[in-house]
Amino acid sequence: MIDVSNISKQVSTSEGTLCILDQINLSVKAGETLAIIGSSGSGKSTLLGILAGLDTPSSGTVMIGGQDITAMDEEGRAAVRAGHVGFVFQSFHLLPGLTALENVALPLELQGVSDALKTAEHYLQRVGLAARVTHYPRQLSGGEQQRVALARAFACRPTILFADEPTGNLDTGTGEKINDLLFALNEEEGTTLVLVTHEKNLAARCQRTLELQAGRQIALTNGSQH
């Protein structure tokens, strides 16, 4: 599903060139779950951005579904994202002016799905928020907001879901529940999951874990649980 070969990312700063990612190689199969872990500044989020086609590497290639997204322009990558990719973010990124239902329906509407609201309602039900569809984000707790974000991500039926520290803003108990929901939905939908986390137990729930340190891939291991 995802094939990464020799990607590096350098940025120019006032103190010279800074290497954020160095020669990363990786392959993720369809339906597989992968955790990217590492300390702050290790390049996790940069790698996630490049894998999802949100950012471009300085060198190397990323193939998604057999398409080299590093050779594409922004419009091409947007088309790939539209067809394959979904996101869950640490700070949820729900639009404050829209209700839970509208937040979930928005990407579907942008894709031109005709029964966007119905689909959105169905996914909100699946994340246990059927009673909160008309609520605005400010009326929801952090856990509930992230559940809306999960519903929004899965409602588009992505083949790959990228999650950036999905429970980073939540307490442990709520975070656990969100993780359970994420993995349950992932399994039901057969989605490939790539998540960035610094929580060892969350990483352990993934089939494989890629560990980064200062932009280098120091380990690619199988997880302890499935």
Binding site: G49, D55, A82, H93, G97, E102, P107, C156
Partner: protein, 838 residues
């Protein structure tokens, strides 16, 4: 359609309100002013015709050519002839030199004659308006003729060889204002009675008028063709009078009122434009994450652009339509303020005001909103992961330039006045430039000195410096709004001041002319006994200008100014009269001049009015020859003067030094206020001194006064609307930094800061911004006002020290109160709730 759905959701979320209302206000201001201007303009054209009693008049010293009448009949042009002359009237032992106007039965072609059966009637219920002339054998006469001749309605009086019945009291004829009653009481008689009266003899001084009007079925083209033909037929004796000229006495007031309306409207548009630009900037900032999300979901940049464009266009269309409706409503309100002097059946406006209003909406969006949103499609999708990644917005210099171009286009298109456009733009440039240079300096100073102050001041002034870019944008917004409001207030006040004489109850409304030296004391005593005050007595000599630089004026020149065809009033004075201003040359030092010109044999210095100088092509040093009762003397032009014709005091084209015309037969003149209850004094005066001429301006002055009062009322209403625009700008500017401020305040609150500290910081920040903005606004306003006064309102430049006090203090207070009111949420709601709502 998705864009509409997104627009509705955005509206519900409150992000679009300010953009929408700014747009609505811009369109409403333009539409209301444009509608009002066009309808009043059309009404005035109609009304002007009424004041002329025709669509066009040829005034002449000879009767209308019979060929004109024949051609007019063929072309379907309606006509009426009138002849005005002075004639002695008799009733028994009594006699009076009356001002008679003989009119054809078709008179008046436009407007109405007001008549009554009750002398001195003022109550509208007893005054009848008719489109009719007296029947042959009948006379309609001025009320005051009755006591003068000691007669009653229905009695007979003699005019020339004829005897006529006085059947009606003449209250007002439509073209009465154009020919002042120079010879006492007015009389309207039928044209057919002229041979009966036999008062017109060869050599009689008669003023003929040939009145013309288009037929009801004519769309104007037939009349235009006829007028063109007639233009070629005129001789040196004839002069065309258009409706505009008929209204010359109020045209200036109206014109200034119209200019103010335009200025206020333009200011409204600019204010709404600033509000729109600020609101759009705020809106765009709030959309960055949203666009990043769209793009992370695979929405292309093109599609993003399309979505926003569709939303803005839809918003523009709805906002413009709402603006048109509100503009219509507001124009009705404005109309109601000026209703009384407009005809009841006001003509409808054409399409232009509506098109102007709608186009303003679109142009505002293109110039102010689109540039603010331009960068959105280029937003990187990576911003969903990294907050630090943000697409650069369109260069602020480019946005500023686009805004200025839009304002310039709007101002010029709307006002069609380059000076107004330039004055506001330059005022803006000064305010904007000062905002950047002095604003930064002021913020820096604040930060430096704030260190030494208490915690509230230190924190607030440091905050302003830290947020210097948004602070400067806010400051520019505030100062722009304050400056524009100040410009409008100053111009409005100075106009109303200028008109005050017209509003004054005791402005002179009668002129007394041709008072002989031996009559002077008697006339003065009569006036004093009636407890009336004159504006001072002026001596004058009647003379003709016969030669210019030793040559006879040619026919072309004679046609260019009537002063060459009649006797002129020459006067003398040692001091420059009030309201006169030397334009070229120098006023004389009387002490340095010698005695009467006749004695000295030299050239008399003469100061002449600037308009007549221009029309006759005269300059300093030119020699003029005057003939006074056959005696000739030469003069040299030593200065030109501008006059204030509006002040209703005697004014003279030609002024000589004191004593220079001593040798010539002289008469005296003055102006005075005669209240209506002392109007009979005029009769007494004329009976006692039949050769004195009285020019009655009371009706005209009453009309001007009522128009000025109503225009002033209209201006006040317009001022209110523009104030609304100003408040909107304030709101837009305050809301600009509000989410960041609320966030900081909530964090401070979480850390245990007191309500006093948080509100204190907001108060100091906003009032400092307001203070600085007010100061800069005073600078910009002073600059723009100087230009406007000079170029647009024909007024002298004056400093406005109060601006420098009111600007900063009102700015500090207004912006401070608004800012604190807006940020009260930070202390009235729990911090977490505040943070969640952002």
């Amino acid at each position: 359609m998705l864009a509409i759905k997104m627009l509705l959701r955005g509206w519900r979320g409150g992000q679009l309100g300010l953009i929408f209302w700014s747009l609505v206000l811009a369109v409403a201001v333009v539409t209301s002013v444009a509608l009002l201007a066009e309808r009043v303009e059309r009404a005035l054209v109609n009304q002007s015709s009424a004041f002329l009693a025709a669509d066009l008049v040829v005034s002449s010293s000879v009767p209308a050519n019979s060929e004109w009448l024949e051609r007019a009949a063929v072309d379907g042009i309606r006509t009426a002839r009138t002849a005005s002359f002075a004639s002695m009237t008799y009733a028994g032992e009594q006699m009076h030199l009356a001002s008679v106007k003989a009119v054809e039965s078709t008179y008046p072609l436009r407007g109405v004659v007001k008549r009554s059966q009750i002398p001195f009637a003022t109550d509208a219920s007893v005054i009848e308006s008719v489109m009719a002339a007296p029947q042959p054998g009948e006379l309609w006469v001025d009320s005051r003729l009755l006591p003068l001749l000691n007669i009653e309605l229905g009695d007979s009086i003699d005019v020339g060889d004829g005897t006529f019945t006085v059947s009606q009291i003449l209250i007002e004829e439509p073209d009465g204002g154009s020919s002042f009653s120079m010879y006492g009481a007015r009389i309207l008689m039928n044209w057919q009675d002229l041979p009966v009266a036999a008062v017109i003899q060869p050599g009689s001084r008669v003023s003929y008028r040939f009145l013309m009007a288009a037929s009801d079925t004519d769309d104007g083209s037939q009349f235009a063709r006829f007028s063109e033909w007639l233009g070629d037929e005129l001789t040196v004796h004839d002069r065309i009078i258009t409706p505009d000229e008929a209204q010359a006495n109020i045209a200036k007031t109206m014109d200034k009122g119209r200019r103010f309306l335009l200025l206020a409207g333009s200011i409204g548009v600019v204010l709404a434009g600033i509000a729109l630009a600020l609101a759009s900037h705020h809106f765009a900032n709030g959309q960055l994450l949203q666009v990043a999300l769209y793009k992370s979901w695979g929405v292309s940049a093109r599609r993003v652009r399309q979505l926003y464009l569709q939303q803005i266009l839809a918003l523009g269309a709805v906002g413009s339509v709402a603006g048109l409706i509100i503009g219509w409503g507001f124009h009705q309100l404005l109309l109601s303020a000026v209703r009384d002097w407009l005809p009841l059946d006001l003509p409808m406006a054409g399409a232009r005001p509506w098109i102007t209003g709608f186009a303003t909406g679109l142009l505002c969006l293109i110039g102010f909103t689109l540039p603010a949103l331009w960068h959105l499609p280029a937003q990187s999708p990576l911003a969903v992961l990294r907050r630090d990644i943000q697409v650069a917005s369109l260069n602020s210099a480019v946005r500023g330039a686009l805004g200025v171009i839009t304002i310039a286009v709007l101002l010029f298109w709307y006002s069609n006045n380059a000076y107004l456009t330039l004055a506001i733009l330059l005022g803006f440039a000064v305010t904007g430039g000062a905002s950047i240079i002095f604003g930064l300096l002021l913020l820096r100073l604040g930060k430096t000195y704030g260190q030494k102050m208490g915690s509230i001041w230190r924190l607030a002034l440091a905050n302003l410096w830290r947020r210097k870019k948004p602070s400067l944008i806010q400051m520019a917004g505030f100062s722009g709004a304050i400056a524009l409001l100040m410009i409008m207030t100053v111009v409005r006040t100075s106009l109303i001041d200028e008109w005050r004489w017209q509003l004054a109850d005791d402005a002179p409304n009668h002129f007394l002319v041709n008072v002989a030296s031996y009559e002077l004391d008697g006339v003065k005593t009569l006036i004093q006994r009636r407890e009336l005050n004159t504006a001072g007595w002026y001596s004058m000599v009647r003379g003709r200008l016969t030669h210019i630089n030793d040559a006879l004026p040619n026919e072309d020149l004679k046609r260019s100014h009537e002063s060459l065809n009649r006797e002129l009033n020459l006067s003398w004075t040692s001091a420059l009269p009030e309201g006169n201003k030397i334009i070229q040359g120098q006023w004389w030092d009387s002490a340095a001049l010698e005695g009467p010109v006749a004695e000295s044999g030299g050239l008399a210095p003469v100061s002449i009015e600037e308009d007549i100088a221009r029309e006759l092509g005269l300059t300093l040093g030119d020699q003029l020859r005057f003939s006074v009762g056959g005696l000739v003397f030469d003069a040299v032009i030593t200065s030109t003067r501008s006059l204030n014709w509006d002040n209703m005091t005697p004014n003279f084209y030609f002024l000589f030094p004191e004593g220079y015309l001593e040798e010539y037969p002289r008469t005296y003149m003055t102006s005075l206020y005669v209240p209506s209850d002392k109007k009979l004094m005029v009769n007494e005066l004329l009976r006692k001194y039949p050769t004195v001429q009285v020019i009655e301006l009371d009706k005209i002055i009453d009309r001007i006064r009522s128009i000025v009062t109503q225009i002033t009322r209209g201006l006040e209403m317009m001022t209110l609307l523009i104030l609304g625009c100003g408040v909107l700008v304030m709101f837009a500017a305050v809301s600009l930094s509000m989410s960041e401020r609320l966030q900081e305040s909530a964090i401070l609150r979480t850390l245990g800061s007191s309500k006093r500290l948080i509100l204190g910081v907001q108060w100091v920040e906003f009032s400092t911004l307001g203070l600085a903005a007010g100061l800069l606004a005073a600078l910009g306003a002073e600059f723009a006002i100087a230009m406007l006064q000079h170029f647009m309102f024909d007024q002298a430049f004056t400093w406005h020290p109060w601006l420098w006090f009111v600007g900063p203090s009102a700015g500090a207070l207004l912006v401070g109160v608004l800012g604190v009111a807006y940020s009260r949420k930070a202390v009235t709601q729990p911090p977490l709730q505040v943070l969640n709502s952002l």
